[in-house]
């Protein structure tokens, strides 16, 4: 049972190794450019936030955003290509692998791609003068579950998409707003009390806050809430995504 998703994951890894450079640049380009443009560009204009320079403030959140983009784009555009143009899902379904195992394999793969972008981004932070604390290791599992969540969310979109343009709704109405309003670029606590609950209810917010705490070793008990919200969302969304993809595949 567990082997099915792993086989699908291995297949995607094999294909990815054929063109990994282009794929990685696609996943890392945006967050690193943001880090340079905003962090370095606004360095002198923005005062320190909670004792962090602006670049230090946004860096952990941008890591979280790299995972969101990496995972969600994989299971939308790329999974949709496998579903429709390449029809590789139909090939998989002729074998003992079930539709749900296939879906879980795709989610696992999307999460892996997201995590890979996130980890490379983390490793690159010292180049910008941001030195992550030892606690950052504890961040990695949270980032993995974030990847699972966004990969599953993307796969839900694939399960209901009728063409590539459909994903514009997803990126413009879900992914971009999350990128802008999940507390990557500004401290949520300084927002008005009407807006604050909305921002705290966004899924990416929890990862951004967890990332900032663990990156700089300033840990509060809230970390458990951030982690459990992320894990719960990941599991729930994965179950939903695998049911929805099955519905799309089995008529």
């Amino acid at each position: 049972m567990i082997l099915g998703p792993i086989r699908v994951w291995q297949r995607n890894l094999k294909v990815w190794t054929k063109h990994y450079q282009a794929s990685l640049i696609g996943n890392l380009g945006q967050p690193i450019l943001f880090l340079i443009a905003m962090g370095v560009g606004l360095k002198k204009e923005v005062p320190e936030i909670n004792g962090l320079t602006y670049l230090q403030f946004i860096a952990p959140g941008l890591v979280a955003s790299a995972i969101m983009y990496g995972a969600a784009l994989e299971t939308t555009y790329n999974s949709y290509t496998r579903l429709t143009i390449q029809r590789s899902y139909e090939a998989v379904l002729m074998t003992p692998i079930s539709a749900k195992e296939l879906a879980l394999g795709e989610i696992l793969w999307g999460a892996t791609k997201g995590l890979l972008a996130g980890v490379i981004m983390l490793a690159a932070l010292p180049l910008f003068g941001v030195i992550p604390s030892i606690w950052t290791i504890a961040l990695i599992p949270i980032l993995f579950f974030e990847g699972i969540f966004f990969a599953a969310l993307g796969l839900i979109m694939t399960a209901i998409a009728s063409n590539y343009d459909f994903f514009n709704y997803f990126t413009s109405l879900v992914i971009t707003p999350l990128f802008l309003f999940s507390g990557i670029f500004f401290p949520i606590d300084e927002m008005s009390k009407f807006i604050r609950p909305i921002l705290y209810s966004l899924p990416l917010t929890h990862v951004v806050l967890a990332a900032r705490q663990l990156c700089y070793g300033r840990i509060t008990p809230m970390i458990f809430i951030y982690a459990s919200v992320t894990i719960t969302l990941a599991i729930f969304t994965s179950i939903l995504a695998s049911n929805m993809l099955k519905k799309r595949l089995i008529k």
Partner: protein, 328 residues
């Protein structure tokens, strides 16, 4: 030697007694309804070990839907599917371990090489990589593709890809091979090569289910056939028997022109109990025996354009499903 003979005789006897157990696939009253459209309407058939059954039918007759139900990609509305004495969908995973499928569409991984495609597909069956590589090499030799093993799929021709899809379907050493229009869209050379390989597989005892609308393919490869039309089985049997029974040994074709009085002709043929089909341009005449054939020849000799030829499976097919193109 004699002892061995005796044993094999015993086995033969045994296998003919346990007739029911030698059925690889038994389908009973299988039905599929999509919304308001009944794609497959209560069909029953079975395949014995080592036999090839062909499902013939025009596009949209329900051939692919039937195959998709067998492998669980389409859920059946009613009926039972039994493969290797197990039931779909309950035992689908176990069943699929021993089934090979050649789909109608090309769904090879275009970015991967030939050998990578085969090894990855084998991994879906949890076949160890070393064994998968051995089998892949063997299969590529068999399909005359060994030299292409390191080639990326997108560089290959349609016929080569089709052979790889066949090789892929055999990587798990299936006990039942399902071929959904295996040579559709190929040129005659590529088609012949594939037929020849399928015949070799058949000679080795592979049980097969074949769908096709190439009559020559069906005549060559199948032991039995069913003709499906609008989701129903309209006839079943062996190709030669069906030709004999439904058409007779010969067919006359008469090209129609405005000055031919069709009604009179039809009247004459019906008086002699000779079956006739009419398409806008042609009259197809099916005399059952030599005497009637002589009569037909006598009647149509006066017209300028006609031919007399041996009947074939295509006549059976068109006689039963109609000579007109239909919208479905």
């Amino acid at each position: 030697m004699q002892q061995q003979k005796a044993i094999s005789k015993y086995e033969d006897k045994n296998s003919s007694i346990s007739n029911n157990n030698s059925k690889i696939l038994i389908v009973k009253k299988l039905k599929k309804v999509f919304g308001k459209r009944t794609a497959v309407n209560s069909i029953s058939f079975s395949i014995s070990k080592g036999q090839c059954l062909a499902i013939l039918g025009p596009n949209g007759a329900g051939k692919t839907t039937t195959i998709h139900m067998l492998v669980g990609v389409v859920e059946k509305t009613a009926g039972t599917i039994e493969i290797f004495n197990r039931f779909v969908p309950d035992d689908l995973r176990e069943i699929k371990k021993k089934v090979g499928v050649v789909p109608q569409i090309d769904n090879l991984d275009p970015d991967l090489t030939v050998i990578e495609n085969l090894v990855i597909y084998a991994s879906y069956f949890n076949i160890r990589k070393k064994i998968a590589l051995e089998r892949a090499d063997e299969l590529l030799h068999f399909f005359a593709l060994y030299k292409r093993r390191k080639e990326v799929i997108s560089n290959l021709s349609g016929g080569q890809r089709r052979r790889i899809i066949l090789a892929r379907a055999l990587i798990n050493k299936p006990e039942l091979l399902i071929l959904d229009e295996p040579t559709v869209g190929l040129d005659p050379q590529a088609r012949l090569l594939i037929w020849e390989r399928i015949e070799r597989l058949k000679a080795r005892g592979t049980t097969m289910l074949l769908t096709s609308h190439y009559m020559e393919e069906v005549s060559r490869l199948s032991d039995n056939l069913i003709i499906l039309n609008r989701g129903k089985i309209i006839v079943e049997g062996n190709a030669h028997e069906l030709i004999e029974k439904i058409i007779g040994p010969e067919v006359f074709e008469l090209e129609l022109s405005p000055n031919i009085k069709i009604e009179d002709l039809l009247e004459k043929f019906s008086q002699c109990d000779i079956a006739v089909d009419k398409s806008p341009q042609r009259l197809y005449i099916y005399p059952k025996d030599k005497e009637r054939a002589k009569l037909v020849e006598k009647i149509i000799k006066e017209f300028p354009k006609w031919i007399r030829r041996p009947s074939n499976l295509e006549d059976v097919f068109l006689r039963l499903t109609g000579r007109k193109l239909r919208d479905i």
